[in-house]
Subunit: 238 residues, 2 copies
DNA sequence: CATTATAATTGTACCGGTATAATTAATCAA
DNA sequence: TTGATTAATTATACCGGTACAATTATAATG
């Protein structure tokens, strides 16, 4: 086991909340109890709780206690859990159809966002993703080939990020996301099975490794009928 | 000065980055230097840096250093900086027109989201917000009157959140946001000066105090032509 | 009985320490 | 020059402590 102690503790607390179906506002044991229960120091427990707070699982009130944070709505895709719908849409069946997969030169836009020259190679991946048989989104991705050295159609039809982490041993760090609402083009509408001119949500994301290198620029166009999003914010920094 | 030491340090580091126009990837002084420079312990510096990391200002690489994180695009509204566009759209001129302001009973939806009964009072506020003279969004808010005890048209035409914090002395904690793309209704289109059926982004947010009480449920409908959004995610919790 | 003052509870700020893991730089061997 | 080994740098995990601030419970007061 190479998982850190505070991560383990965070997981166990989260599992405890799940298993006992705790609701918003329910109180967790006090710090000292958690310390002895997990045989960890105060700072380790606090670190675990901070993690859970950032994940939106708990909130802490000074002088009062640690409470469960829950949101009510189901079926929303979290914009913050960085990659993949798998976690958010567990109850649903998400599949991918690979339209295109090849090594090519990046567009100007992709090159700029990946911080590479237009002469360098990228893997270009185009997929349509389905949820319960209906189109969820159209996805175009550009992977910096000098970092993501190899992809094939099998990998691409599964979870690319799992492969990047497990297969390539890379560590995904942070991402910048840009959202825009617009009308569907003819081509997009075709892939999504909608009419041109219908609303769309376009999400552009630049994914970075932990060392700050951008390795993936992707543009995802969502079917507005299928896509509901969710963001949990903490005003810890106001 | 009642600002905490680690917050002050975070502010100073952020200011330093701004003033020196540091770019993505630029390295900050090492921990020990920061410790002596700010006359603070290691853990306090780390706390300041964690804050900045969550704000998307820096990223830390173990064994290597602390680096500046920057995104390139301007004019995007950050979904995470919790309230108000003021900060994000500093360079732009944002104004509000109050359409309605009154005490009333909540809708079923509002009551459910504010966790109150339908017989309790809420302040209902309806505003249209403009950016550089163009319509940005239509906003409908429900404030729990037992928490937000008083509002008037002057407050509402300015920043309501500033008043909540400064005037009422309340502390805003966390918020849950739900996003959806759809087509504009006749009424919405009228307020925004667009055609019915045009795309819209609808954002519903439930704001909570630090103690977990929901005090504001708001539905904001954005003019798709004016609204671009931005999210900085950290995969620290994967 | 309501109000106010006081005490107990509980989380946070801040200190500072040791050991460790990731990265980068320096050294050495082929 | 290249590649591998070693060393130096640097941030992180984890420990545990004191003082303090916010909240909640209790006691005192009228």
């Amino acid at each position: 086991m190479d998982m850190l102690k505070y991560q383990q503790i965070a997981n166990e607390i989260e599992k405890y909340i799940e298993d006992n179906k705790l609701q918003q506002g329910d109180k967790l044991p006090v710090l000292e109890t958690l310390m002895s229960q997990f045989e960890a120091s105060k700072s380790t427990i606090i670190k675990a709780l901070d993690l859970l707070e950032r994940k939106g699982v708990v909130f802490q009130v000074r002088g009062s206690g640690i409470f469960v944070r829950r949101h009510k709505r189901k079926g929303y895709i979290s914009l913050l859990s960085n990659q993949g719908f798998k976690e958010n849409l567990e109850d649903f069946h998400v599949t991918s159809e690979v339209i295109e997969l090849e090594v090519r030169k990046p567009t100007e836009e992709a090159a700029a966002n990946l911080n590479i020259g237009r002469d360098e190679d990228v893997y270009y991946v185009k997929r349509v993703r389905y949820i319960n048989g209906q189109t969820l989104c159209l996805e175009e991705s550009f992977y910096n080939k000098s970092i993501i050295t190899y992809l094939n159609s099998e990998i691409v039809s599964e979870s690319i990020f799992d492969y990047i982490k497990e297969g390539l041993g890379l560590k995904v760090g942070f991402s910048d996301m840009y959202l825009q609402v617009d009308k569907l083009s003819e081509e997009e509408a075709g892939y999504l099975g909608l009419k041109a001119g219908s609303p769309k949500l376009c999400v552009e994301t630049i994914f970075h490794l932990t060392n700050g290198q951008p390795f993936d620029f992707s543009k995802v166009t969502y079917n507005y009928e299928q896509s509901q999003f969710f963001v949990q914010a903490n005003s810890s920094f106001l």
